[in-house]
Subunit: 237 residues, 6 copies
């Protein structure tokens, strides 16, 4: 029995609200249960130095969390003078995930920065962020198309992400904070709309896991990501 | 005529939504028109070093802005390794304003940190932040009272803030970004429910202003803060 | 009765010594009683990036304090890796004050940096700094005129500053450290030679102040700044 | 055909040299082909704050790379003032991997820090580091046992790591730099002596990969780690 | 012929003015020609962690330079976030020099920090700083003795410093900035009142120097330091 | 009697191993007894800003130490965010020493960075580093000559360094850590192949030293450096 009373393969209630920002070229307020993330896509007509003159664009992501997004207040990262290792790991993951479905030639020499700011955290912030970031990115590209800045084909596929874990010996989908704290194994999966794998990260928190357990997690993830992609389709249609 | 089509002494549409955070002891989502600030009050059973053993508590504030809260994306402060001078100025102002109406002996040896995070910015973020922070603080103290941690009298009065300015020669109240960019003079006022002055900051952006102009700004501010205090009363009742 | 035995509207003994530095294009050693500040104006043939090609110049200020300028030694700011919020607030105030009386077109595409370093502190360092900085700036511009780099009219007016406060219930002028520590209200005023207001900053340290009290402080400031401007005229003549 | 002329499932020449440091309680110079890493285990009689009084110990890792370990010189991390995101990701991975096989109760309230410094890099530095770090850790625990500081059972199993990838369409084991630069998919596996999975990290560099491809990589990793564990057994015997 | 028209073995005009600070326990404004340094000695009733409980005290020094102490303005060190290598080298040198003549047992468990701030620089700031720092330290210890905090014998000897160099082939004493910029070799000497050597630092700026040349520099330094010690005696008597 | 059982004028066993790095244009693994330093010379086709267009090149050095190079683990410098004063002092010394024997015109507008990383430390790391750095630099210049990038005459002379000290009253050569900790005086000498002095640094650790003692140290250094230069000649021949 999960603390959240969900079935092992049941996602939390998910919502994807487009146009959450007055200014951003694309934006999405994503909720996975009590985890709320604001994703904004900002377009800039410049690329990092190593791409100048290449004709290719860049998509990158930044991740942040409000100090009281969590049960106890955490210090602002600016106070310690640098993003934590965890923050950097997550923002690199989001950026890689989005770039895997973008045709950077078709984007042209421009940069899109997707900011994912966690307003409230209850586990799974990185997977909610990736799922919402895709909607913000999709909106930003639609914004560009409406202005004839790009043609079709910049965005090649969907990208969504979900966590799985072994909880009291059983594989479960989309862990909230209470479940995550107690899970033996925690894995995050990023996949495309066609179920191509973009990123797999599995970590044994306490005891090593077996290949069979790992296979069960991949099965859960595939099904969960299928549902998230359907919700993305509804959101952008 | 103001770009916002408001009368010179007219506030923007203001809303104060309590309980905006699942976790914080007190919270308020405040909106002054398109300026949205999330204020959360976090209680900690410890005080800064210089107050240990004094029996007195402390109230402090931190201020942040999401990167795409503004028309063009701004870099996260963590990227430059430290809060900007502007950020520090604002968070010190919010902290001083709140402390001016708190009986720190009655609070006891505890710290309340009020985080004011700007989700969307359209001018007047610091005055919206102060006005909302008071509601979050008030809620936090109510939370403590409900647990018999404090008695009545911790919060001695209301605190609210508003900006005024000289725009195309005329004094106006509660400037939005478009008005603020063009104003000759910009002033922020922080006052109590009984119209005691806590903080006055007036700056000539281009040309010095006269005493008469300054007096007109104080008049506008008194009236505007009167309305904000009424809205606070509604919000916490 | 003030600890300094001065009348409520009496300035400390003020001196403004030009040419205090062998190297700087303009300089002034200013003393407000035991508060000593060395102000040097440095001319550079370059402007910040956002002004390049605009034909306009820039005036900026930096503020520092020697570690033992104060009664107990304070740590160097370089030890903590960044200027404190207070330092940044003060140097932005000095810069704004000076720019308010400079014709930046007439200055041409150059930058003048006025460094204000507190050698000894006894209250009112920011107001002494502004008053002395104007003399250093005036000297620097005279230096440029002597070399036919600029014409008349770069410096449009005087700028001077003074603090006022409510001390044991009575408004007083130009507080020293002992008075400042005990004052209920502390206000700084920056005005021009024609008594135009450039900056007003009033803060209730403990209890809110009334409009009448605030009016009394403005009256004191106007008179005090009048005397400081006369001393500046003597210094640069 | 691999640039290294190795068979798809062939490790590079691997050596594990114990006692490489005169001072460290445990040490190992590990070589995976031209990738050379010096691993030293340092014992300290103190634990991080959150473990004080718990009776449990801690194992952590730090990772560094000499500036000219690589084909072109890279700037020292101290020059930018902080470890890069990549460095932090790797050192957290090494630490988690080692802790997964340590009985922290049996270790007692002490900390072992394993430093992994890359002297020369030719791909796979993190997997070589984990494999060598285990030997250094094992030696350090033997050093403690020889001094009756701990009993048997502190180290519950082996830990070794290897990379796999899809290179020109085929799954290969233990990629060197030339192979890694060209691979479509890059995955790192950390497993125990009994083939329990501790960490899986798979990333599509350009195109998503399929479940079948992923399964092939896991197969290669299991075999490769089996060989590495045998070499560890030889090294510590 | 020296640019300064001094004889090869001639010091600049030197003055040592005690009591230059209103607050410091000891202070000295030292001038070596146009090089002006303010030295203040601050007493604190605490020692660095490694000396706690040892019964021994500590003497340390910090060094700074005002931005326009030099011919062209230099950036404040706080702007780059850390003291430069040069600053650290100099402050460690001053600290070592002073500690060499202090009986730290007799001082007791206290720390004296001598701040040496360069108000104006014309070469030889570190040697002027050491020579003046000794006077400030001596005054501070006299201040303690007057309060019966220490007995005689804390300060065992004088310490003074001077620079020498090979300038157009000839050895000269106490180089000013113009001479220093052109010198082939630059050496700094720190000696006691009894001509014991505390520190020797000789550097070939362009071409190596011979033992004979080095011997000539030591001769000059001995004579120059003899004169500086006499001036110190006058200053503190 | 020395703890190392060496004669007063006896060097430790010294080895200079060229080609220690697969990638660097020049490299040398130097050992002075148990002090091991890896020196790599990296060539870049760019110079610091102030040399651009001058036709002259630059040689610089960086110095680092592995955390467990020493008897007890030291924190990585990146953890404190900046190189220590000691590190900066040493790397500036190495850079100056190498530049003293390089014809920077003949080098052309290029930079050679010599990294000296201490793998194991037992006293005298800076002198070992300079001695090995010269070999790495010499190799790098030979690499350039083999590619017709430079002609003869870039490297004008040898450079080597050694430490001396007064230990239990007697002058000794090349102190190891145990000797250095106990020495009254510590001096480092950098000389050329023709015994020209490049740098002399002598410091009294506890009691001042006399001119006679200092002369004895210079004698020891000359002899020791003579032997080191012979070893360099063997290494590069």
């Amino acid at each position: 029995m999960r603390p959240s009373h969900r079935a092992p393969d049941e996602l939390r209630s998910v919502s994807l609200e487009r146009g959450a920002s007055k200014y951003a070229e694309g934006s999405c307020a994503v909720r996975f249960g009590s985890t709320h993330v604001l994703c904004t896509a900002s377009l800039e007509e410049r690329v990092p130095g190593w791409l100048r003159g290449s004709g290719e664009g860049w998509v990158t992501a930044e991740y942040g969390m409000l100090p009281r997004a969590t049960g106890t207040r955490t210090q602002r990262e600016v106070s310690s003078g640098r993003p934590s290792g965890r923050t950097q790991e997550i923002q690199r993951l989001i950026g890689r995930s989005l770039r895997a479905v973008v045709d950077r030639k078709a984007l042209g020499e421009r940069q899109i920065t997707v900011d994912c700011d966690v307003i409230q955290a209850d586990g799974g912030t990185r997977t909610a962020a990736i799922t919402g970031a895709w909607v913000a990115l999709s909106d930003c590209i639609a914004w560009m198309k409406a202005r004839n800045m790009v043609r079709d084909g910049v965005l090649r596929d969907h990208v969504a992400a979900v966590s799985c874990g072994i909880f009291r010996g059983a594989p479960i989908l989309d862990l909230d904070y209470a479940e995550d704290s107690e899970a033996e194994t925690d894995a995050n999966f990023v996949m495309t709309g066609t179920r191509g794998i973009i990123e797999v990260q599995g970590t044994a928190e306490r005891t090593p896991f077996s290949r069979d357990e790992f296979t069960a997690l991949v099965d859960l993830a595939e099904a969960g990501i299928g549902q998230l992609v359907e919700l993305q389709k509804l959101a952008v249609s």
